[in-house]
Amino acid sequence: MTMNQNNKIFTMLAIFSVAGISILATNSLLTSTENDLSATYIQSKMSKAFPELDGVLDGGDATMLTTNIEDVKSQVQYTIRGTVVNIGKLKEWTDPTPQPDELRKLMGKSVMIPIDIKVTQVKKDKSDLKNDEIITVNVLGHLIENTLYLNPNSPQFEIGEDVVVHISVDPNDIIEKDFKFVQLGEYGKYSIQDGKAFNAKYSHGRDIAKALDETQ
């Protein structure tokens, strides 16, 4: 074997090695980017408040018009930070939509879950809410047999949880008068952990101040 042949071999070896390593490195980078998108906080599970049920499940997949709270900030009456002090019992309400009997059997009962939050900071307020007052927001779902199906994209809460929530008041008074709910569901509620605000959109957390300011 001549020196020229050796050079060719080593040149080929080098080219193939660089190509192979580059591809593996690219793959590693892509994989790590995907992993970075995974949640880095402990997500709340409302099932802890309902041990008597067979389960608390996400009710399906939805079409959201937006996931940016800024887009609907005019509809937000309260932006507060507070601590969840109570998760009430399921409360049945009557959806006025007329449904065929056969369908109504499949839908189960329309229910709301009242969440009591003790206010620690008020950022946006269209009344005179004060610190240490309790504000009650509601989550909607359907009780089918003994399983609670939350409406898709609903926020979940746990007692003792430190939260920032953007709250709207339903002007229709259909479910009940002055019915309060979390605007944009899971995108309008943050769980405060390790000094950051986390939710479905900000799985790596963001400044609490920014979460509070987004409806200003």
Partner: protein, 205 residues
């Protein structure tokens, strides 16, 4: 010596070629859908749906209530997008006793929640899903191709919901024009996309 070097060359070539193949194989296919949940797909590609006229009559469509026939026409476009372009066979039925798929409306305070499709229920061996459209009076259902908070195209949202009905989850991959399954609603909801079709069909051979 010459034979030994030839073998070294061959072995080196094989190893590097294998390395390249492994690298390519392991790279995620960004043109395919990435989000999947096996529990959302029906066992059968043939599904019939009941349309609840009374529920649909509560949708404010083109500014008026009831506007049931016009609203149903728009919703059916979503059914057609799925049935005409994939292996799924979807049809409307009026035999609606027992455990059936249904399309109807519901009330939700949160107008940003335009519509949803339930989980796949199985009762007495029968699989079914329910598709709901929000009949909150501040939900402005129209036929203008938009999905903004002020006006909302019913057929576009129906396309997306029938994507969920088939079994697709929300997708985050690809660029504009890739899928009608983004969350939130985009202009891509206007029709089923080739990536959606190629994702659905293997589930319903």
């Amino acid at each position: 010596m010459g034979i030994t070097m030839t073998r070294i060359t061959q072995i080196t070539t094989v190893i590097t070629a294998l390395t390249i193949m492994i690298g390519f194989t392991a790279i995620p296919n960004v043109s395919a859908h990435s989000e999947d949940n096996p529990q959302k797909w029906f066992a059968s590609k043939t599904q019939s749906l009941c349309y609840a006229d009374t529920g649909i009559s509560y949708l404010k469509f083109d500014g008026s209530t009831p506007n049931t026939a016009a609203a149903k026409t728009q919703i059916r476009l979503g059914q057609s997008q799925m049935s005409d372009n994939t292996n799924m066979n979807l049809s409307e039925t009026t035999s609606c006793t027992g455990y059936k798929n249904w399309v109807t409306s519901f009330y939700d305070s949160n107008t940003s929640l335009a519509a949803y499709t339930t989980a796949l229920f199985t009762t007495s061996g029968t699989e079914y899903k329910l598709i709901y459209f929000n009949n909150n009076q501040y939900e402005y259902w129209v036929t203008n191709g938009n999905c903004s908070s002020t006006t909302l195209d019913l057929s576009n949202i129906s396309n997306h919901e029938f994507g969920h009905f088939a079994g697709m989850m929300h997708q985050t991959d690809g660029s504009t024009g890739h899928t009608m399954m983004r969350d939130p609603c985009t202009s891509d909801n206007s029709s089923i996309k080739s990536a959606d079709i190629s994702f659905v069909n293997p589930h319903y051979p």
